[in-house]
Amino acid sequence: MRARVMYIAAAAFAAAALVVPLWGFSMSAPQYPDETLHLQVERNGIVGDVHEIETLQHYVGVHFPTEIPELKWATRAIVASVGLLALGALVGSGAAAHVYRVLCAAALVTFLLASAGAVQARLYQVGHDRDPHAPLRGMRDFTPPLVGPARVGNFTVWSFPHAGAMMLLAAAALSVAGSRKARA
């Protein structure tokens, strides 16, 4: 019963992640008082102060990733997770069901770790794969951390999990908790 509720909740959280931003970035600099720039990575791409950030990028030669194939895969993986989690609520309480849920939880955790890796890889790429002819000199390559601040020129860039990532994290936690063996 307990596992079923957890899996239903986990499926709901995973489904909600489809409609809210997954990851967020904010950029602040002294000349943007009260107007910190924001980017949100959503299932369909990047939204927010794209226009302004693209305008700024050409000074430092940072490429703004417009095509992100990982997002397509991530969407599919989230949809699959919703299905797997919902199934986990239906499979009953036998030993086979338990094994299923353990596998399900493992799959979800693996997906999240892979996603974190993909985001970090992208962040590395943004900081290193820069236009050598960018006007501004003296800019060193940089790697923004997955979560936390990085200094890029006069900007402080924050990278942080947005609502979608938190929902997926919650779904993963619930699936892990729901896969523990029920006390006899």
């Binding site: 943007y32 107007e35 305008t55 700024l56 000074y59 002819h133 006007p135 501004l136």
Partner: protein
């Protein structure tokens, strides 16, 4: 031995003088720091009030922060300003209005704010052009002039006022008398009008004829009367003949009565405006006799009294604003010109000749109490208008007052014979007035009005929403639209013009439409074109169109005049003008373009070299 008493006395005197001197300095230092603290607004902090000062012969409005006295903005109105890209080219609607209504300069005197319930609502500010008989409206959401109106049937638009409490009309006094028709040399036949302007349509709804020179205006707080001081009832044409009568007048116009008469068709139509003749419409105009050649007229915040300043008489005339009866005429000092108010029943009158502000208690003066004068403070020098925060509205703040002085003399470092104007900020929160600070401006503020930053700041836009026909990024184009016409649609964004070059032919009329496609505040770009008399400024989101002659064959670099980014100096492009005749083609300019992404020989690989 004999010298000792003398030395002792001398030493005592020296020590005493030194002590007194030191104490004196200490006292003055601490007074100074107290005053400085009252006007100090630390970097990054905001002022409490916007003060709008008329720009006088600069034809503009100065926006000053109070209490700091910092000049924050000049709003150009009647004069083009290249720096703001205001009215600089023939396509500009404001320039067209200016040219059509009397010229590209003006003499602004009285800024007035739109009111709701007797308080400024932050929608509009109106300002007059005395010289050319015009009234301009400034939108306060963008701080820019949006309409300029030529007032028919009058010359010299002087005093203006908003009809309280909800801005029903803008009252504009015609100061210079005119013949009603044709060229008449005998001034006895001249007459003036008070105009009532619809604030939204910016149209004169009706005018009321008044003989003499109509000077300063205010209105009763209930919307019933407009009050105008009138001098030269003698209708003389030179100074000597204008000061013969012992008394001139305050003209009180009953607005509902005038509206009724206009609705009944009793106005004489002239240039599309009905003019009411008071002799044929009794009840519309009441002339209240006041000492000759009065100047200011100010209605108390509670709407009880209209106070006319004597100018040549050392008195102010207190008129009941409902019964129109004179209730008192107290002496205040030499050369009283204007009056403003605090929130505690006190009036402050400027004294031109005494170079003072006199504070007096209205109730005491009305009752004839001998101690109605509360305080006097010296100002520097020859004060004209003065305005306390909110003194012209229904709820004065009673904290600061600005004295707008006519002469500055020794107040600033000498800058040649044309001295700056001097404004002074006075603390009126206590019983005694305290001089806090002074600040100079270009010529020549006459009057001021205030708005609380807390009210206006949320209403102010900092970028424009692009108009429907704005040029969009990616949709830029250069098209030949006729044998001698080229249209260029251009966008601007840090740090490039698109297109960054275009080609026209000698003899072409170039119609250039530019949109600044920036979306963040303060990212203003300029477009200056050498040798074509062209420089405009574009705030984010703004679109401007200008038409100009291509000029002589050659290469013209257009560049950004408003510092925008690390690549501001590189923000430029070329207009290439081909000769009209012959088959000479300029060297292939396309090939020279777009060196982006290529290694350009001779350019060092490190260091921007800026």
């Amino acid at each position: 031995m004999k010298r000792h008493p003398f030395l002792l006395v001398a030493a005592t005197v020296v020590v005493t003088l030194a002590t007194v001197h030191t104490m004196g300095c200490g006292a003055s230092r601490s007074l100074r720091s107290l005053a400085a603290e009252k006007v100090y607004v630390a970097p990054g902090e905001l002022d409490k009030y916007y003060a709008f000062l008329s720009g006088g012969q600069s034809g503009s409005v100065f926006v000053v922060g109070v209490p700091s006295g910092r000049l924050i903005r000049e709003i150009p109105v009647f004069e083009p300003r290249a720096a703001y890209g205001y009215a600089m080219n023939d396509n500009d609607p404001r320039r067209q209005e200016l040219v059509a209504t009397g010229g590209v300069w003006g003499d602004t005197h009285h800024p007035v704010l739109s009111e709701t319930d007797g308080m400024p609502d932050g929608k509009y500010l109106w300002i007059n052009d005395l010289a050319n008989g015009r009234l301009a409206r400034i939108r306060l959401d963008y701080f820019e002039a949006d309409r300029i109106l030529k007032l028919p049937n009058m010359q010299g638009a002087h005093g203006i006022a908003v009809v309280s409490p909800n801005t029903k009309y803008i009252v504009v006094n015609g100061e210079f008398e005119l013949p009603t028709d044709g060229l008449v040399t005998n001034p006895a036949a001249y007459t003036s009008v008070v105009s009532f302007v619809d604030p939204d349509a910016m149209q004169v709804k009706f005018q009321v004829r008044v003989n003499g020179n109509i000077d300063i205006a205010d209105t009763s707080k209930d919307g019933r009367y407009s009050f105008s001081t009138v001098y030269n009832l003698e209708q003389g044409r030179d100074m000597g003949s204008m000061i013969q009568y012992d008394r001139d007048a305050v003209a009180a116009i009953d607005i509902p009565a005038a509206e009724k008469a206009v609705a009944a068709g009793r106005g004489e139509m002239r240039n599309g405006v009905p003019i009411l003749d008071p002799e044929q419409n009794p009840g519309v105009l009441t002339l209240i006799p006041v000492p000759k050649n009065p100047h200011g007229i100010n209605v108390t915040p509670d709407g009880r009294y209209a106070i006319a300043a004597g100018k040549l008489s050392p008195t102010v005339t207190i008129i009941d604003a409902h019964t129109l009866k004179i209730v008192a005429e107290p002496e205040v000092g030499l050369g009283p010109l204007h009056t403003t108010f605090d929130d505690r029943g006190n009036a402050f009158t400027s004294l031109f000749l005494d170079s003072q502000v006199v504070k007096w208690n209205i109730d005491k003066a009305v009752k004839g109490a001998p101690d109605y004068i509360v305080d006097r403070i010296n100002v520097h020098y020859n004060i004209g208008h003065l305005q306390a925060v909110g003194g012209d509205h229904m709820h004065p703040a009673g904290d600061y007052l600005i004295a707008l002085n006519k002469l500055s003399k020794d107040m600033y470092v000498p800058v040649g014979p044309d001295l700056p104007e001097n404004q002074e900020i006075i603390d009126i929160s206590g019983e005694k007035m305290k001089m806090l600070a002074s600040f100079p401006t270009p010529p020549e503020p006459h009057d001021a009005t205030f708005m609380a930053v807390s009210v206006l700041k949320p209403l102010v836009h900092q970028t424009y929403t692009p108009v429907d026909d704005a040029v969009q990024a990616g949709k830029e184009r250069v098209v030949r639209t006729g044998p001698h016409a080229v249209a260029v649609d251009m966008t601007l964004i840090r740090s490039a013009y698109t297109p960054d070059s275009f080609q026209v032919r000698e003899g072409d009329q170039v119609t250039l439409k530019i949109t600044n496609v920036e979306t963040i505040r303060d990212m203003i770009h300029g477009f200056a074109l050498p040798d074509h008399n062209l420089n405009i400024a574009l705030a984010p989101g703004y679109t401007k169109t200008m038409t100009f002659d291509a000029g002589k064959p050659g290469v013209y670099w257009y560049y950004c005049t408003n510092f925008c980014s690390a690549l501001h100096l590189e923000m430029r492009g070329r207009m290439l003008v081909q000769p009209k005749e012959g088959t000479v083609t300029l060297t292939d300019w396309h090939a020279a373009e777009n060196v982006k992404g290529q290694v350009v020989p001779g350019v060092p690989s490190t260091g921007g070299g800026k």
